[in-house]
């Protein structure tokens, strides 16, 4: 009976829970789902991380390759983030070329990397105009249950933090790179951003960390990315019901609190790389 009501009238079903200030999965409106971070699950990649926020599961793998730099930026390396939402993660997505949401997510991660200056491209330069590192960061969603961007950002940052690049020199005579796998230096990460998503139900209720079914009935997903110094790096809200400044202020304050919690995760994982850690 409950299932039928949920499918025929999802909004009414949800409202009946909101009246008691609770959500169908028994969380309060402010509660976040359990977040798990695991670094190094992919041994063949140069850096990897697996993040779970409730049922949402996102994996990031980083592969480093050598290439010639572009003519416009001869002293800068290249970082290529890519968010993939394959058909396997949800029935919403059909197999084929990357869907709109994946493209928007990729651009979001790209913007974030540039604004936060996550990895300084000049750190990736080996020989200007001849040899630079290119980092391919592939973020794949394995299970879609809302807040993919939040998980993707954590996965991306954690994976990059676990990357160690071998020292490379250019053999002048043969003009080929010589790699020394025994001398590895970890990548310098300049910033630890954390993304936090909110959704709004009919302008009255702020829903934090919405699941997939909640994303469908609420409107206007607001994503706030902040760092450990309480700087707002990105605030994205692609349309939705109108919200007041007071509500925006509440969301900003909550995102700072969340950033502190996720930072504990980053620190714990960094201390013992390759182990599991939960918050």
């Amino acid at each position: 009976m409950e299932d039928i009501f949920k499918h025929i009238q999802p909004v009414e079903y949800y409202k009946s829970f909101l009246k008691e200030n609770i959500r169908p999965d028994t969380r309060t409106l402010q509660q976040i789902r359990k977040t798990t971070l695991n670094v190094g699950p992919i041994t063949t990649a140069d850096g990897s991380a697996l993040v779970k926020i409730g049922d949402t599961m996102v994996m990031c793998g980083v592969k480093a390759e050598l290439t010639q730099p572009t003519a416009e930026e001869p002293k800068k390396g290249i970082i290529v983030p890519n968010l993939d939402l394959p058909a396997l993660c949800s029935s919403k997505f059909k197999p084929g070329p990357p869907n709109t949401q994946a493209q928007v997510g990729t651009k979001f991660l790209d913007n974030l990397m540039k604004i936060a200056n996550l990895v300084n491209p000049e750190d990736l330069c080996i020989v200007p105009d001849k040899l630079v590192w290119v980092l391919y960061c592939d973020v794949t969603c394995l299970n879609y249950d809302g807040c993919v961007i939040d998980a993707a950002v954590i996965a991306l940052v954690a994976a990059l933090r676990s990357v160690s690049l071998p020292s490379v020199t250019l053999n002048e005579e043969t003009d080929t790179p010589v790699t020394n796998v025994n001398e590895k230096t970890p990548l310098t990460i300049n910033c630890l951003p954390v993304a936090y998503s909110f959704s709004f139900f009919e302008s009255d209720h702020i829903i934090t960390d919405p699941t997939l079914s909640e994303e469908d009935i609420t409107s206007g997903c607001l994503t706030i990315v902040s760092d450990e110094h309480e700087n707002l790096l990105l605030v994205d809200r692609p349309g939705g019901v109108s919200i007041t400044e007071a509500q925006l202020e509440i969301c900003i304050q909550r995102s700072f609190k969340r950033t502190k919690e996720v930072h504990k995760l980053y620190k714990a994982v960094h201390k013992q790389s390759g182990s599991n850690d939960q918050t």
């Binding site: 913007n111 692609p238 939705g240 202020e249």
Partner: protein, 235 residues
């Protein structure tokens, strides 16, 4: 032109170039507008409510499809990203439940991008929707704000210059660019896109300045529609 607000001692730069708009620029569309803000100009065509394949129809509301076309080349991921913002704004501004099983197609062609592109595009879409006579709950009004460091100081504070609808040169010199979209009725926030590290109180300051700037844009919308209707009456 630099304005100094004596009460708050703020330094705000107002653009010297104005808004320009030509409604019903394209004859075969349901609604169109050629809109320019400073040097940035955008052409928007609106078709709708129109027919849709049965498999894609929604039984209780209309769909909104936005197509962003860059000046050169085919649309890339960057355009898809901006489309998401325009679509989000339109889905809430237009009364979709009045036209079930139909779709609105909004095509945005970038003619010239010299800064503040997203706000120019959203304002242009709003004007085109008015030209098409589409029922809307409110008018979405967009403003871009940029923060530039006045001098080489470490303190990120009141000495930062706030620029409304920056040109591309000013955007490059700024450390933070924010675009806000407000509704014309209650002046509440619909959509926001901010890039660049900034403190919450700087964000608040930008939000306030953007809200005040919407008055000028709304007045311009009203003047454009008045002109269009007056021209029709003369004939």
């Amino acid at each position: 032109m630099i304005m100094k607000d004596d009460m708050h001692d703020e330094v705000v730069e107002q653009p010297t170039s104005k808004f320009q708009c030509e409604m019903n620029a394209l004859k075969n569309t349901d609604g169109s507008a050629f809109y320019s803000q400073g040097e940035t100009s955008v052409m928007v065509a609106v078709y709708g409510p129109g027919d849709l394949k049965e498999t894609k129809q929604e039984i209780d509301k209309a769909l909104v499809e936005v197509d962003f076309r860059p000046k050169l080349g085919s649309p890339t991921v960057n355009e898809k990203y901006l489309e998401r913002f325009v679509q989000g704004v339109c889905e809430n501004a237009i009364m979709l439940s009045l036209h079930p099983r139909t779709a609105f197609a909004i095509i945005v062609q970038i003619m010239q991008d010299q800064g503040s592109l997203l706000s120019c595009a959203i304002n242009a879409v709003c004007v085109a929707l008015q030209d098409a006579g589409v029922s809307m709950k409110y008018l979405p009004v967009a403003v871009t704000v940029a923060l530039k460091k006045e001098s080489e100081s470490e303190i990120e504070d009141a000495t930062d210059v706030l620029i409304i609808n920056p040109a591309i040169k000013e955007e490059c010199e700024s450390f933070s660019i924010l675009t806000f979209v407000f509704d014309s009725v209650n002046k509440n926030l619909l959509c926001t896109h901010s890039q660049g590290p900034l403190l919450p109180k700087q964000h608040e300051r930008c939000l306030k300045a953007a809200k005040e700037a919407t008055e000028e844009v709304l007045k311009f919308f009203r003047d454009s529609v008045t002109q269009k209707v007056a021209a029709g009456l003369e004939l």
